[in-house]
Symmetry: C3
Subunit: 183 residues, 3 copies
């Protein structure tokens, strides 16, 4: 049927991942979990990834892609398929850390070009990081600028956008969510 | 009657305390103010506490408990009583600063166990600190993780959850608030 | 007709400026853009200002006033005129950096006194900076306190208050916005 793109934003431990997983399961289509985190060397990151993994149904496909998100999305999406992208802002941070300005701009442009035509259900999860004090660090400010613009671009092409606070969704765009309270 | 648990989140100077005080007064029950701040040595904290004190009705009971929140709640709550807890996130910070991992985990577990059965009206005030840039400092990241999880746990057992911005409540959970604008 | 005061808050790159510009254009009155930023020496600030300038209609009047906001508002506002103030929190930061405590207090008091009687349409844009981790730096904490109180004061005298996230407005106060999605 029609495509259904959803943006779920939220601060640290706001319940955004759980909400994304619930919406993915609720659709009833086969799910591909597109992870932009890669375990790597960092113990804290490995622990966070392990928690997410433990919670996901065993029949979900997993793709790990820290940099080339547009290509991965092109390959993974399809009619009557669900792709859950977690998370947008980590992907952006990966691109910034890679330190290749042309790669960064090309990847952002490719994702933007792809957005309007993505088929099936695509759920984007992103960190809301821009409602605190403006960072002193120039790279962090750059990150905030790019993250804010990215979230606007994605929201524009989503049928639904939500902001999670304390595990509860505020509707930014689209119809109210039913049955999301008290779970 | 039935219990009424309310979570009020908000950033710095977002009007969350005033809203909590208004909801406590509105109920018409005797109120116990359960403060997790203690004046101590810090001049800024003493000044903040003095402002809150000056605003509260003289007939409210006061309990100061920086660490053992579950015990204090068990003692202070009751049918047709209101307890206003201010604030959750300072209590969490107190526990983290105490540096005793077993105390921290025991207190969090006790509060979680107590939540579903708290009688009367209980209003929890917490700082929303998790929508800014992820802190570089590991202890601050730990604090954010714990605060986010705590707010989710509390919200799950509340009939009402609100996020204050510019003195105005966004309803995260429960019925709309009447008569809260323009005060 | 009746005065219409609007507060638009939002984090970094949340779409708050675009929304403010859209609301100003939508009213159909002559618009004065009251900028609290001045280009000065800083390349990043100059670039941000240039982006905003390039987006604004050529027939909007421009006033640049980094410190004396109340006087500038008194001069610029009028019946069937629109004044767009961008932004409140930069004005506050300018006052704090000026380092003159009496100037700061006088300016805040003057703005507060002026608010209830401002004629025409006045749109205030402010940064939401208070939902991140509490800053370690004392000046940054002072800034957050003042910004939070200022936003509350302004919201109290506005008919409409909005929080922008990912380019989408959450209604804090006033009627829903029509036709703001998907633009």
């Amino acid at each position: 049927m029609t495509a259904e793109r959803i943006l779920i934003l939220g601060g640290v431990r706001s319940g955004k991942s759980r909400l994304a997983e619930r919406l993915a399961r609720g659709r009833g289509w086969p799910v591909t979990y597109l992870a932009t985190a890669t375990p790597g060397e960092d113990a804290e990151m490995r622990a966070r990834i392990a928690v997410h993994r433990g919670r996901r149904p065993a029949d979900w496909a997993l793709i790990e892609e820290p940099l080339y998100l547009a290509s991965a999305l092109r390959a993974a999406t399809g009619p009557e398929c669900c792709v859950l992208v977690e998370c947008l802002t980590l992907w952006l941070a990966n691109l910034l850390w890679a330190g290749d300005e042309r790669l960064l701009e090309r990847e952002l442009a490719e994702l933007r070009a792809l957005l309007p035509d993505l088929p099936g259900q695509v759920i984007f999860v992103g960190n809301e990081t821009n409602q605190g004090i403006i960072p002193v660090d120039a790279l962090a400010r750059r990150y905030c600028d790019l993250a804010g613009e990215l979230h606007q671009d994605i929201a524009r092409h989503c049928q639904r956008a939500l902001l999670c606070v304390a595990g509860l969704p505020l509707v930014l765009k689209g119809p109210p969510l039913a049955g999301m309270e008290g779970e």
